[in-house]
């Protein structure tokens, strides 16, 4: 069971690039683009519920994986996932008890991450799209979808961590 968490992360990592892309709405005539960040959500929750060092560990490993497989430029995702996991892994019992707060943190991290990637891609000359052009069609739908997925994930993930770590639910 020790490898259940990285296994689930790897599963999300694979699904983002394969199954999600095959059924992606924008490849089926939809105007809206959805960018899945499910693996990042789980890494963030690991950071919040288990502590910053756990979060950073997975952030760097899966960041490297993401960079090699899905991205043409090495380093962008490793650094971004690592930095945002570091910043948003506020692992206090006050936050852990309030799922709303956890959700808010995760959502802020996803928004920050999306803008970080957009900034890096503009900086490296990979995209020249203006912010207005992508805000309503790409960023906003992605925030909403990832927010919804995070809302669905956060309770099961917390109970899972608590049952594995042997902590009380309160």
């Amino acid at each position: 069971m020790r490898f259940a968490l990285p296994a689930v992360m790897f599963l999300l990592f694979i699904l983002e690039g394969t199954a999600f892309q095959i059924f992606a709405p924008d490849y089926r005539g939809s105007e809206l683009q959805f960018i899945p960040r499910f693996m990042f959500l789980l890494i963030l929750m690991t950071g919040i519920f288990r502590g910053r060092s756990h979060g950073l560990f997975y952030a760097v490993i899966f960041g490297i994986l993401y960079d090699i497989v899905y991205s043409p430029v090495l380093g962008v995702y490793t650094f971004g996932i690592g930095l945002l996991t570091y910043l948003f892994s506020m692992s206090t019992s006050y936050i852990k008890r309030r799922l709303g707060l956890v959700l808010l943190l995760v959502l802020m991290a996803v928004i920050g991450f999306e803008y970080y990637v957009y900034g890096m891609m503009s900086l490296l000359g990979i995209t020249s799209l203006a912010h207005e052009a992508i805000f309503t069609t790409r960023l906003l739908p992605s925030f909403i979808m990832n927010g919804l997925v995070a809302a669905l994930m956060v309770y099961p993930v917390r109970s899972w961590f608590y049952s594995v770590d042997g902590l009380d639910d309160r």
Binding site: Y27, I68, Y70, P72, G75, G82, L83, S128
Partner: protein, 299 residues
């Protein structure tokens, strides 16, 4: 700590942006092992998505059938014409002793195993790599037209840069075959309309809507004559020195499941080798059979 990370980041980015870089072995290892898992996940997903599409298609079957029937008549006459043209081409080739045609190419099939989830890059992964004979910059197409070129190759998988990728290095030599041949480059997509851009066309040459853009075969391992798309709009570029045409791609960039990798002019030679080997094998077998026969006779 953060400073060290930043320096590391800049170094890595600089390393990966350098041109003419081959994948290092850790990258190849990760890509191949992840690629294997990805193919396991892709196959059932394609099955599911295809069966959904099949149900949708059922609704239009009757109308499509009518249209196809009308096309069938044209097909017969085209077939005759094709035969005639092939015969004449053969004669002309014989006359000029042409040994190798730029149009000769060999085709490999591959399954798309992943597509980059962030829409910033238009990259796909396929389940064929160096071990299957894939090399960098080979042309990749679907049955409808060109979609891109091989970007990185590892042993058992490789990644394809689609024509729609906005990377500055994404450039393919292309041409319009009208009264005279017009050369230019395919360079990414137009942000507003989403069409491909056919750039660096000489300002004096007139190109029109509806003309077909195809690969020119001038650069590297690209064969010529692979259809890219149809011109929908022509405009003068910002400095007034050249023209840019917007091209509606003939291939569908959204539904990619199986693609073809095109290699120029290797097919003829491979076929030749294969025939030779087969002949040798046949001769060997004959020899063995004869020996057996004689042994049997001896008994």
């Amino acid at each position: 700590m953060l400073l060290v990370c930043l320096i590391f980041l800049v170094g890595l980015i600089g390393y990966s942006l350098s041109d003419q870089r081959n994948l290092s072995w850790p990258e190849q290892f990760v890509q191949d092992s992840v690629g294997t898992v990805q193919s396991i996940f892709s196959r059932p997903a394609y099955l599911l998505s295809n069966s959904i599409d099949a149900v949708n298609d059922l609704r239009n079957v009757y109308q499509e059938n009518q249209v196809l029937k009308s096309h069938l008549d044209e097909y017969a006459s085209l077939q005759v014409e094709l035969g005639e043209l092939q015969r004449r081409n053969q004669e002309l080739e014989d006359m000029t002793d042409m040994e190798e045609d730029l149009l000769d190419y060999s085709v490999r099939n591959a399954m798309v195993i992943h597509r980059s989830p962030d829409r910033w890059n238009e990259l796909i992964g396929i389940n064929q790599g160096a071990q299957h004979g894939i090399e960098e910059d080979m042309a990749v197409m679907t049955s409808e037209g060109l979609i891109g070129k091989i970007r990185e190759v590892s042993q058992f998988s490789s990644s394809v840069q689609l024509l729609s990728d906005q990377d500055a290095g994404n450039r393919i030599s292309a041409m319009v075959d009208a009264d005279e041949t017009v050369y230019g480059f395919m360079e990414g997509i137009d942000d507003e309309s989403g069409h491909l851009r056919f750039t660096k066309v000489d300002i004096d040459i007139e190109i029109e809507e509806g003309q077909i853009v195809s690969t020119s075969g001038l650069g590297g391992v690209f064969p010529d004559g692979l259809v890219i798309g149809e011109i929908v709009n022509v405009e003068t570029d910002e400095f007034g020195l050249s023209q840019t045409a917007l091209v509606e791609p003939s291939a569908n960039f959204y539904h990619l499941d199986y693609v073809m990798i095109i290699e120029r002019s290797a097919s003829a030679m491979e076929d030749f080798d294969a025939v030779e080997e087969n002949e040798e094998d046949a001769a060997l077998e004959e020899l063995l059979e004869n020996e057996q026969d004689s042994e049997e006779e001896g008994e």
